[in-house]
């Protein structure tokens, strides 16, 4: 029987849809690790990137942090965190958070930098205080690139969460790592399909969220995805 037929059979087997090693459990684990890491990362990275972009300070730092982030192998980050913090979700979330921060800092910096200075002047002329100007004028205009950064980070986190199985973590990576260990190619390929689908769903889901969040007035202006930072960690 071909490998594809066996994979189809694997997915059809109800035993793979229940229990602690079932697809729903693994999906929840994978999503939980990813969502927590992206949220913590966003809480750290977005204020920093937005503030740096608004004041136009430390541009080199904001731009170079994603170069440095690219140079640090995500796999090594996971293993190092495991050696320092031991078993459990903590080392996984810490390393995934560290991975999520650089693209969000760079993209939010660029997003705020690219707000038209004339618009800022107009806002000031209309009597906006600084905080109101940032929240009501600059941020809405920055949403497209800001969201591109969040998408990039989320995608890297979902991809790298797969590797968490190497340090005894849960998630879809379990099928891939266990499949390799047990030379069970059916499980291996099934796991790979699940990981790839989850990555695609993340990308498309956040693209849809972006469309909802972008103010109507600037939706037609440009396609920000073209200027998204190219970033692949795993």
């Amino acid at each position: 029987m071909s490998i594809l037929a066996r994979v189809v059979q694997w997915f059809a087997d109800p035993a793979h849809w229940t229990g602690t090693d079932g697809i729903p459990t693994r999906l929840v684990q994978h999503l939980q690790l990813s969502v927590e890491s992206v949220l913590i990362g966003a809480a750290i990275a977005l204020p920093v990137g937005i503030a740096l972009g608004h004041y136009g300070r430390f541009g080199n730092l904001a731009m170079n942090i994603s170069n440095v982030g690219r140079a640090v192998p995500s796999f090594a980050l996971l293993v190092l965190a495991f050696q320092i913090f031991g078993l459990g979700d903590a080392p996984i979330i810490i390393s995934l958070t560290a991975l999520a921060i650089p693209p969000m800092v760079t993209n939010s910096y660029v997003a705020m930098q690219e707000v038209d200075p004339d618009v800022k002047d107009a806002a000031r002329g209309m009597g906006y205080r600084e905080l109101a100007q940032v929240l009501l004028v600059e941020l809405p205009l920055a949403v497209p690139l800001l969201m591109a950064g969040i998408r990039t980070s989320a995608l890297q986190v979902v991809a790298t969460a797969t590797l968490a199985a190497l340090i005894a973590g849960g998630g879809f990576g379990r099928y891939i790592i266990d499949g390799l260990d047990q030379q069970d190619y059916t499980k291996l390929v099934a796991g790979a399909i699940l990981v790839a689908l989850l990555a695609l769903a993340t990308e498309l889901g956040l693209a849809a969220a972006e469309r909802l969040l972008v103010p109507r007035g600037i939706r037609l202006l440009r396609a920000p995805s073209a200027r998204r930072v190219t970033y692949k960690a795993a």
Binding site: A71, V72, F82, L180, A192, I193, L200
Partner: protein
């Protein structure tokens, strides 16, 4: 160490004695790492230059090609390797298909973006001077697109150096193999040293490419 039990042993972050006797292991891993990266970026460039030119020339192809590449780019490398293993086995072929693939995705986009950034006035001037399409492409458009292409090479190289570590899972990995050894044997030294070497390799490669760009393409300094 009299009076010390085995359990009292604390693994230091770097065991210099062990490291000093294992330098050749690290050099071999570094060499494998560099080789895998060079093949990926080199072959990637050979594929993506013509591809980028075609996607730029036949405008109807541009958006479908870049969208399709964007979708492929979202597939995590570990998933791609796992999908290939039943067909191409554990080893270099599987690793390079993935690594070359991702390099092509990065580079093609930059070739297209670089060619698009050539000002229309320049194209008009080249036409007016009697350049045929092929000569115009080679002698006018590509040189002006080179800064963007170089930026793509830098990103592809640094990205590939990171992705190579992941191929440890399929039995290769270069320095990633030593990171995996550190994990499996619960031994800090190979893990820490290989991680540092991998970061240094990426930064040195990036700086070297930036430096050679300044020398080879003096007109890109302002870009």
């Amino acid at each position: 160490m009299p009076g010390h039990l085995f359990l009292d042993y604390v693994d230091p972050w770097i065991n210099w004695d062990w490291l000093s006797t294992h330098v050749p292991v690290f050099l071999a891993a570094l060499q494998e790492h560099v080789t895998l990266t060079l093949i990926a970026v080199g072959v990637g460039l050979l594929i993506s230059l013509p591809m980028g030119v075609v996607a730029h020339r036949w405008h109807a192809l541009r958006n479908p090609v870049l969208t399709l590449f964007g979708i492929f780019y979202t597939i995590p490398s570990i998933a791609l390797f796992a999908l290939l293993i039943p067909y191409t086995g554990l080893g270099t072929l599987t690793a390079e298909i993935g690594l070359v693939g991702y390099a092509v995705l990065i580079l093609t986009r930059n070739v297209v973006v670089g060619l698009e950034a050539v000002p229309n006035d320049v194209l008009d001037a080249a036409n007016g001077m009697g350049y045929r399409p092929l000569a115009r492409l080679v002698r006018v458009e590509l040189p002006l697109a080179l800064p963007a292409i170089f930026a793509g090479i830098r990103i592809a190289t640094v990205t590939t150096i990171g992705l190579v570590t992941i191929t440890a899972v399929i039995g290769l990995g270069g320095l990633g193999q030593l990171i995996l050894q550190g994990l499996v044997e619960n031994f800090h030294t190979p893990l820490v040293v290989a991680t540092l070497l991998s970061i240094v390799l990426a930064l040195v490669a990036d700086l070297a490419l930036a430096g050679s760009q300044r020398i080879a393409l003096p007109w890109s300094r302002s870009a």
